[in-house]
């Protein structure tokens, strides 16, 4: 469902994403792991047709995000980092607007919205103004928006940030349940999350993929705790980078 080959994004001389290639098959739930500033958000923005790639080939649901941007957008539910929402609208008004934009048929809208509201556990705030909601509720309103047209692919940028432990559990269960029939790519740096819901993990550091494997095999290779895996993989990349810089400076 998601394929990208040699994906690269440069901002002037800064390379944010460097030659990233991976595939996510239908029905997979993949954790996209990496330290802050590793390029997770940039990759996700390129997959959702928000940013064009500097070079490389991307297919999402069989479409190119640059040339067939609308088809890609129809097939992807995206939850951006920090969950931008229209603060002056009420939750149900916002979801209604988004459902309409995303082409949910008029007769289906009410049912779909009711469904995602229940699923995301925001029934008690449906008539509240978004700007007055807590971070946890806003996060779930964003999630409801991503799900409202029932897209086959979900790209979620840190979906559980700002939630309390009960809500985190709810969202995790929801994502696991979505895995049947949906393709999910979620970014996070909360390791326990990956441990619970993502059978496969892609680790990115400094814009490069440093590991792409199943969770179990990664643990087998490096250590029993995912934290060790994470630290080892991302630190190595850092150290390699520093060594390279030092060598260049000397030369």
């Amino acid at each position: 469902m998601i394929e990208d080959e040699h994906l690269t994004k440069r901002y002037g001389s800064i390379v944010a994403v460097d030659d990233v290639s991976f595939r996510v098959e239908k029905g997979e739930v993949v954790g996209f792991l990496g330290p802050n500033g590793a390029g997770k958000t940039t990759v996700m923005r390129m997959l959702t047709a928000f940013l064009p790639a500097t070079s490389g080939k991307v297919r999402v649901a069989g479409f190119d995000p640059f040339w067939e941007s609308l088809q890609v957008r129809r097939n992807v539910g995206y939850l951006p980092e920090n969950v931008p929402l229209y603060r002056e609208l009420r939750v149900n008004e916002y979801l209604f607007h988004r459902a309409r934009l995303k082409g949910v048929a008029a007769c289906e809208r009410k049912r779909r919205i009711g469904e995602v509201i229940e699923r995301c556990g925001i029934t008690e705030v449906t008539h509240r103004v978004i700007g007055q909601l807590s971070k946890g509720y806003r996060q779930r309103v964003g999630l409801a928006d991503a799900l409202v047209n029932d897209p086959p692919i979900l790209i979620l940028d840190e979906p559980t940030v700002g939630l309390d432990p009960n809500q985190v559990r709810l969202v995790r269960e929801m994502i696991s349940a979505l895995g049947q029939g949906h393709t999910v790519l979620l970014s996070t740096h909360i390791l326990s999350e990956v441990d619970m819901i993502c059978p496969r993990v892609i680790v990115i550091s400094d814009g490069r993929i440093v590991a792409d494997d199943t969770r179990e095999s990664l643990k087998g290779r490096i250590g029993p705790a995912l934290e060790d895996v994470f630290v080892k993989l991302t630190r190595t990349a850092d150290v390699v980078g520093h060594e390279k810089q030092a060598a260049e400076a000397q030369a």
Partner: protein, 240 residues
């Protein structure tokens, strides 16, 4: 273009959910009302009364249109909602046109109360309808250019205040271009300066009852150019 209705509705809702819209509309209605009263009591010629009022409404638009347009794109960029908006299945042109359409409807809401004055005039006097209609057309074209310029400015910056300030600077810059040129100057630069100033295309023609194709073309092309420029800016800004 099927999303334009949904997007326009959302923009209008955003306008009218903030107190700003009501304040601007009220102040505008009161000031135009006072202007009409002043002109009415001083002038004995009903034809001039209405066109003068509409001309002053043009000045007022110069001061309020940046306040209408400042939030259009700057707010989306500032709050990050541009990301959810531009990853929904809508084209950039649809978004730009919807935002513009919403601001145009706001302009209509501005001008609508002044029609009452015209009705009063028609009841108690016998004004010539021609100049009144041409003045309305002129002030609408003028306002739509102001809004289009404001929309470009809003797409270029990140905060609403910067958008408003930038729009004022562009509008006043264009406005004074026409005033600063000596009347007898015939060199090319003076001609260009006179041409780009919107006031010259409004004051001496529409308000006097003349609908000149050159002026209509001036307003329509410059408005269309601003809409094009906004589309490009919004696309390119996302790419960086």
């Amino acid at each position: 273009m099927r999303n334009v209705a949904a997007l326009t509705k959302r923009e209008l809702v955003a306008y009218f959910l903030s107190p700003m819209a009501y304040i601007i509309l009220t102040v505008f209605a009161v000031v135009v009302g006072l202007v009409f009263y002043e002109v009415l009591t001083r002038s004995l010629r009903p034809n001039i009364t209405m066109t003068q009022t509409i001309g002053l409404a043009g000045y007022l638009l110069l001061s309020v249109s940046p306040m209408i347009t400042m939030r259009l794109f700057a707010d989306e960029f500032d709050s990050g909602t541009i990301e959810t908006l531009m990853t929904a299945p809508v084209t950039t042109l649809e978004v730009v046109l919807s935002k513009y359409l919403a601001s145009l409807l706001f302009l209509v809401a501005f001008l609508a109360p002044t029609i009452l004055f015209a009705i009063v005039l028609f009841i108690f006097d016998d004004p010539d309808p021609g100049p009144i209609l041409s003045s309305y057309l002129g002030v609408f074209l003028l306002g739509s250019l102001f809004l289009a310029i404001g929309m470009v400015a809003s797409a270029c910056v990140r905060t609403q205040i910067t958008a408003a300030v930038l729009t004022y600077m562009i509008l006043l810059g264009l406005f004074f271009q026409g005033l600063m040129v000596p009347e007898d100057a015939v060199d090319a630069v003076s001609k260009v300066r006179r041409y780009i100033s919107f006031w010259n295309h409004f004051d001496d023609t529409f308000l006097k009852g003349i609908i000149d194709t050159r002026d209509v073309v001036y307003f329509l092309t410059s408005t269309a150019f601003c809409i094009f420029l906004t589309t490009v800016t919004v696309t390119v800004r996302r790419w960086r």
